[in-house]
């Protein structure tokens, strides 16, 4: 019996897990999709976007922070839970300024991919059209706060992987915004460089390397091939790619 793995269930399906894994990690490894935005396999969980909220033994909790334990009964893919997720997505869309058709991230954007996958047909709520600053000062990297979803992946990547703490979330409530650690508050005066993981971890188009926007054409991008819920292998194992020029080569091969 010693080589039998511990298990729990998601919507009745038995999921094996290793000690120390979260419900979300174990689910993705087992090929079960749980929607999420602020999780990345290279980083510690944050539990803020709340898209991965599931019920665990009847109680609501974030799958990304919930430790996997033997015998847990998790409900994930139910109409009621997905309804709530759709509302959360609508909230994120109306809170910022998201214009997918003109966005360089389109096709690689997790927010957009989630909205397609969960069949979010309209933003439903009134757009708040916030006035948010764009920082184009850095020679290699854009910071467009209009698209920020406050997931703090850049904050965590810079602090925990790059050892720089270039980004912080400041302010309160909807006035929260990513601030940059530099005397001027501008990216150009910060320690951020193009080979930082923080420059490439953004799940939406808020932080983007410059001059790479359309090198991979629309149609050939990550979530163009298959809906995000069918890409659990990618979501479970992905690494932050700090060398976006590789996409050039892959493109060249295709052409």
């Amino acid at each position: 019996m010693s080589d039998t793995k511990d298990t729990f269930t998601i919507d009745g399906q038995i999921i094996e897990f290793d000690h120390g894994q979260t419900v979300l990690q174990a689910a993705l490894n087992a090929g079960v999709y749980i929607p999420h935005l602020c999780h990345h396999p290279e980083l510690k969980p944050n539990g803020s976007c709340k898209l991965c909220t599931v019920t665990v033994n009847g109680r609501n909790g974030s799958a990304c922070t919930q430790q996997a334990l033997p015998g847990l009964e998790v409900e994930n893919n139910t109409p009621a839970i997905n309804d709530r997720r759709r509302v959360l997505l609508q909230m994120l869309f109306v809170e910022g300024n998201h214009f997918c058709p003109g966005c360089e991230k389109s096709g690689n954007c997790q927010l957009q991919a989630l909205a397609y996958d969960l069949e979010m047909l309209t933003p439903h709520f009134r757009h708040s059209f916030p006035d948010r600053a764009v920082d184009a000062s850095h020679p290699d990297i854009w910071l467009d706060r209009n698209r920020c979803v406050m997931c703090e992946l850049c904050v965590r990547a810079s602090r925990d992987l790059d050892g720089k703490s270039v980004f912080m979330l400041a302010g309160r409530g909807p006035a929260s915004q990513v601030v940059v650690d530099s005397p001027s508050g501008l990216l150009k005066d910060s320690a951020l460089t193009l080979d930082d993981k923080a420059a490439h971890v953004c799940p939406v188009g808020a932080i983007l390397p410059k001059r790479t926007a359309f090198k991979v054409p629309i149609g050939d991008r990550q979530f163009d091939d298959a809906v995000i819920s069918n890409q659990t292998d990618y979501l479970a194992t992905r690494r932050i790619d700090t060398n976006p020029t590789t996409t050039d080569e892959s493109l060249a091969e295709k052409v």
């Binding site: 803020s48 509302v87 909230m91 994120l92 009134r126 309160r172 929260s176 650690d181 530099s182």
Partner: protein
């Protein structure tokens, strides 16, 4: 008006003594910012840069903390900063008239500093003076019982630039208003008696008594105190902390303010007893910024306790029993009442609630075991130390032992504190405070429950109506829709912004309530309110978002006509207002004639 630029060399003599006082510890950042602002009036980018350098922190970290708290200002807000408390109880006492009077007299725009950089005025969340409102804060010092006459006097003092310390003392008088005292408010306090009683029982004995008493937390959640203390003491650690949560931000609550003002011995001795039982060496009192006026007297009381050897080394002659208490002030953030957010704030950061588990009892302040208890809970520990758990357990109900202090405000003859054994009926409280025509009582604050007349037979107890102590009464002429609208504005203002449902959802709810208030809501909006509540309640990260929609859900259910009479008689009115969208263009072009407006009904 350009702000006075302070060069780094000019900052040094002002800021360095404050930095030194706090040993240049980054975890004291909230305290440092508060004290620096006291002398500089606001915290400019230059000040941020200077502090970051001196504390060896990143500027982004300092900005993150500064920009989180409502009482920290990045731009000049004047040497006199007036904040008018905007709880529903202040509203019912016509605080809007006071606010507008200030605006007119001082020729101000809300939220903007005067042209001469002298004064600004804005609203703030409940300041905990509901029994003696309308209340304001001037540079965070509380002034109660505001009248138009008093507002005039204040305007004159500001115009003459009289320092706050020279304003009439009666402005700052805060009354206790105790109308019903029981074992805590009526008890006799002999300094040191409770601590010595606890020591006589021993560490295990004291914990056993707390357990036997079935003491539960008075902050609202009602968690069993003995479990918390036991977990704190069992977790292996070289350092443990006791935190007294005096961030009494729940609208309508003010009992902790009275306990700290007139019963500080119980509070601090409760902390010492907790420290003795748990094995903690350091304690913090986290005092909400609105209670700044209490700081000096509390510091003096702590000094006296040290003199009497009730704090410090070998307390009460017990070798190795070392414990001391430090007071930290908040800076205008309701969410810091949540224990993990409070700990973040104690560590000098923005008060965003942590992911739990781990719970503070195993990993709290500086990742060490930290027991966070409410002010009243700690007072209760002194009673149990003296009289024992069995005696205590006999008072109240089975699951809610002992007494509970209620902060009564709103439509009644005698607002103030009422202490009852648990199990008291709502109707009894209403009778005692002289509330003759109540239609509703909001129990446990904006996050609590709204009870209508037919529920006045219910009892205050964890098994029926649990409460953190707030008890706001609404008479027959009150509009419960406006009550719910006031509360949702409060939550939208106080949402920390960490999680999506609360950050966005509280604002969507406020917008919908405003739309209904403007007569543009329909049945569609009524459905939307409840739909959003079904996302916020299960999906939010902490209690703030989970309870933000409660008052709306309660009043929709119990006071539906007050919503319905505001609804437009159509299927739907768009939220986007074509005419309003031209307001900016009208302002720029200086036009306001009929041609510059869309007509009310678009003709086809």
């Amino acid at each position: 008006m350009t702000a006075t630029l302070v060069s780094p060399t000019a900052l040094e003599p002002l800021v360095d003594p404050i930095l030194d006082k706090h040993h240049r510890c980054p975890d004291r950042l909230v305290q440092i910012l508060r004290e620096v602002q006291e002398s500089l009036d606001y915290l400019s980018e230059e000040t941020v840069a200077y502090l970051a350098r001196a504390l060896d922190m990143s500027q982004a970290q300092v900005r993150s903390t500064r920009d989180f708290y409502a009482f920290f200002y990045r731009e000049n807000r004047g040497r006199y900063r007036i904040l008018v408390s905007n709880n529903i109880t202040d509203r019912m006492l016509d605080n809007h008239d006071i606010f507008n009077h200030f605006l007119n007299r001082l020729k101000l725009e809300a939220g903007k500093v005067s042209a001469d950089g002298l004064v600004s005025i804005d609203y703030t969340s409940c300041t905990g003076m509901c029994d003696q409102g309308p209340a304001i804060l001037v540079n965070n010092h509380a002034i109660t019982r505001m009248t138009l006459h008093r507002a005039d006097e204040i305007c004159d003092l500001i115009r003459k630039q009289v320092p706050l310390t020279h304003w009439p003392a009666e402005f700052f008088a805060v009354s206790d208003n105790i109308h019903r005292a029981d074992m805590l408010l009526g008890g006799n306090h002999v300094p040191g008696e409770a601590i010595k009683a606890a020591i006589a029982r021993g560490r295990d004995g004291m914990l056993a008594e707390i357990k036997a008493a079935n003491l539960r937390g008075r902050g609202g959640a009602g968690f069993t105190t003995a479990i918390k203390w036991d977990a704190g003491r069992k977790t292996p650690a070289d350092q443990r902390y006791i935190v007294c949560n005096a961030d009494e931000g729940e609208p309508g609550t003010f009992k902790d303010r009275v306990l700290l003002q007139s019963y500080p011995g119980r509070v601090f001795e409760g902390m010492v007893i907790a420290a003795y039982t748990v094995g903690a060496q350091q304690g913090f009192l986290y005092l909400r910024g609105e209670y700044l006026y209490l700081l000096a007297s509390l510091e003096a009381y702590l000094a006296e306790m040290r003199r009497q050897n009730l704090l410090g080394k070998s307390i009460a002659g017990v070798p190795g029993f070392d414990f001391d208490i430090e007071i930290h002030l908040g800076a205008g953030a309701y969410v810091c009442g949540e224990e993990s957010a409070l700990i973040e704030s104690l560590e000098g950061k923005a008060g965003r609630p942590r992911v739990r588990p781990p719970f503070p009892v195993t990993s709290g302040y500086m990742n060490k075991p930290t027991v966070v208890n409410n002010v009243e809970t700690l007072c209760k520990a002194t009673e149990i130390a003296i009289h024992g758990g069995k005696w205590y357990e006999a008072i109240g109900t089975k699951q809610s032992t002992g007494t509970k202090i209620l902060s009564v405000s709103g439509d009644c003859e005698r607002p103030g504190l009422y202490e009852y054994a648990f199990g008291v009926r709502i109707s009894q409280v209403l009778e005692d405070c002289g509330a003759k025509d109540a239609i509703a009582v909001q129990v446990s604050g904006a996050s609590g429950v709204c009870l209508s007349e037919r529920e006045f037979g219910r009892r205050i107890a964890f098994e029926d109506v649990p409460t953190a102590g707030s008890f706001m009464i609404f008479g027959k002429n009150r509009d419960m829709f406006e009550v719910a609208r006031n509360f949702i504005h409060f939550f939208a203002h106080e949402s920390c912004g960490f999680c999506t449902p609360c950050r966005v959802g509280t604002h969507l709810l406020s917008d919908i309530m405003d739309k209904i208030a403007a007569g543009k809501g329909t049945q569609y909006e009524m459905n939307e309110l409840l739909r959003l509540q079904q996302v916020l309640k299960p999906g939010s990260h902490c209690g703030l978002g989970q309870t933000a929609g409660n008052a709306i859900a309660d009043t929709v259910q119990k006071f539906r006509p007050t919503y319905e009479r505001r609804l437009a008689q159509t299927d739907f009115v768009p939220a986007f207002d074509l005419d309003l969208s031209l307001a900016k263009a009208r302002e720029v072009s200086g036009r306001d004639d009929a041609e510059a407006h869309f007509s009310e009904h678009v003709e086809h």
